[in-house]
């Protein structure tokens, strides 16, 4: 079973774990994800691989506690085993020398852009990174991303760090400064991805988004991850998770993501009670 080698609390609700998973690390490329089942009774949840080390045989996962299964995952400690990890999954990010690429990360999506930024830089791109969160405490991975980016811009909703505002404001400024942008990659909450796409669409700047749909098997079988892209149904687990953001039906995506909200709350309450009672 995959063992947790180290665990770090990045902010109130975000944790980082490094897990021993040599066969996953060996095959991983930037933009791919894994399915985690922390204990036998938990859900299968998709999480992005935030970093991987082929030599050490480890992968890094950064996750936000949003429900029952992430809460269980967070209850595991250094040295504990995770019941199941499956991966790498999904199509890797397309890498080539595009020129100037703006990579945008929001919330826990900030960690997810790290391997993409690193790889874009290695491929010879000029990477401008924009990260945004609600407040300073949630602005994770800032120094790591700074070393990999030509420029790093930060925004917070409350102005506690960087610009007070949204990542899309920074994006607009870069565009308005007249800089030629060859590609934009956005990873984060649905409203953020949608707004960024609204900015780039009229200018026809190719914008890729990484979709965090619900998943079960995540191997191309159950179909819950279906999303409408350019009027066609696509399956994010095997055809994604990256899609052309200008073609994605974000409204449908948001609705499908919230389909189990009440049940998820119920499960989370159940797990909270269990964890409290030890």
């Amino acid at each position: 079973m995959p063992k947790i080698l180290s665990k770090e609390k990045l902010s109130e609700n975000i944790s980082k774990i490094v897990v021993e998973a040599p066969h996953v690390a060996k095959a991983t490329k930037p933009g791919q994800f894994i399915v985690v089942v922390p204990t036998e009774n938990a859900e299968r949840i998709p999480l992005t691989i935030a970093d991987f080390d082929k030599k050490q045989g480890t992968i890094t996962i950064i996750f936000q506690i949003v429900g029952a299964t992430t809460r269980i995952l967070n209850s595991l400690k250094e040295g504990d085993n995770i019941a199941h990890i499956l991966g790498p999954l999904g199509v890797p990010s397309h890498m080539e020398k595009f020129g100037t690429v703006v990579v945008i990360g929001g919330g826990v999506g900030i960690a997810e852009i790290y391997p993409v930024v690193k790889s874009l830089k290695e491929t010879g791109n000029e990477v401008i990174t924009i990260i945004g969160a609600r407040c300073k405490e949630l602005l994770i991975y800032e120094s790591e991303l700074r070393t990999q980016s030509a420029e790093l811009k930060t925004t917070t909703d409350d102005g506690s760090s960087g610009r007070k505002g949204f990542v899309s404001d920074e994006l607009k400024d870069i565009i308005n400064s007249g800089k030629k942008i060859d590609r934009v990659i956005v990873v984060g909450p649905v409203p953020m991805m949608r707004v960024c796409c609204d900015v780039t669409k009229p200018l026809a700047i190719k914008t890729m988004v990484s979709l965090n749909t619900l998943m079960l098997d995540a191997t191309g079988m159950c179909g819950i991850c279906r999303v409408t892209v350019g009027g066609e149904t696509k399956f994010a687990c095997v055809e994604g998770p990256e899609f052309d953001g200008h073609q994605v039906d974000f409204g449908e995506l948001a609705s499908r993501l919230s389909a189990y909200k009440n049940k998820e709350k119920e499960a989370d309450n159940h797990v909270c009670r269990l964890l409290k009672n030890g």
Binding site: E43, L216, G220, C222, A259
Partner: protein
Amino acid sequence: MAEKKLRKKMGERSVVERITDFQEVPLGYTLEEAISEAKRCIQCKNPQCVKGCPVEIDIPGFLKYLALGNFESAIKKIKETNSLPAVCGRVCPQEEQCELKCVLGVKGEPVGIGNLERFLADWERAENRKQKAESGEKKKDKIAVVGSGPAGLTCAGDLARLGYQITVFESLHVTGGVLTYGIPEFRLPKKIVEMEIDYIKSLGVEIKTDMLIGNVYTIEELLKEYKAVFIGSGAGLPKFMDIPGENFDGVYSANEYLFRVNMMKAWKFPEYLTPIKIGKKVAVVGGGNVAMDAARVSLRLGAEEVCIIYRRTKNEMPARKEEVHRAEEEGIIFKNLTLPIAYHADEKGWVKDAKCIQMELGEPDSSGRRRPVPIEGSNFKIPVETVIVAIGNSPNPLIPHRTPNLKTERWGGVIITNEGATSISGVFAGGDIVRGAATVISAMGDGKRAAKAIHKMLSA
């Protein structure tokens, strides 16, 4: 002339009792019933039943032992060629296979071969007489099997019995493939699947879960370490009808619905944390076994009204008669000659009705079944809160996508020879990855055929 004995009926739980839980419906033969039924076999010199069995069980052979009350030898006889008797005894469509060919069926009722196979497997389990698996002389050759569903397990079991070293790679966190994620508990208890898999393991087969071949290791990489590879990676993306509203919340594919319930045990929520949401009114679209399963699961999850929407009539339904019968008994409503053409949702995006059109049967089509034709102006709405689309699935796309030399049909099925060989030397395939969506037993037959071909190749 001896008095002709009627086929013994198997006891089953009452409808009232069974629709409230996920326990098995049939009760199985008693000892006396089993012996008496086995005695009905007339031991044909040229048994036709065996020809109807994709895994070539010596049917008169095991029935002979069973009639004498020698259960141990009887189950041993079955296991010579079939590693999954408790599964086959429950989910094989015997009425289209062995029992269809039974000569007693010409003038009366065929021997209850399936029921007897089930009886023996259950007897062995109850007696806890785990057979010491007998395998041939150990061989050095290593073989990789991709997928631990019926095709992979059969291929692995047969090759292990011949002495090969087998590693099975399973992508999910639990073994069994469709036996685990697809077929509901009340038709195939998961305890039984586990025990059958334990038997395969006792033959020396190693099973690695959480291993997605194609992504973790490519087929080419496997060929460097293994002498042969069998691909039994099973079902893939669910089919939809491409009608408006299919992506509304509350519209499930049968794959997703059954995966939640069977694999993730959503019926035990929140002890198991994967949720399922079921409305009072449920519509299942399709007429196969999977549609019947989804409908019957819905009842057990507490739906008040469950209907099957099918575009032809009951006569054309691909589901087993037995399954249709049980669904009817349990109160599933059959809306035949009906085709959904759109779904509508409430303001929250949750499905609220299915717009349908009435059909009539026209001329026969290429499948030989009469083609359903829409009746103009017959549109009507069925109020629903949950829709389950059970119209089949394509083969799993993952391995074909990652294996450029692997030839496939345009619809995605891996192309194989009569022996199960693919376009890549040393690589064989079978089950749903080849057939699209077929039966457990045909997948098992494919696994067996490939095992023979692999053995032949490696013995040459």
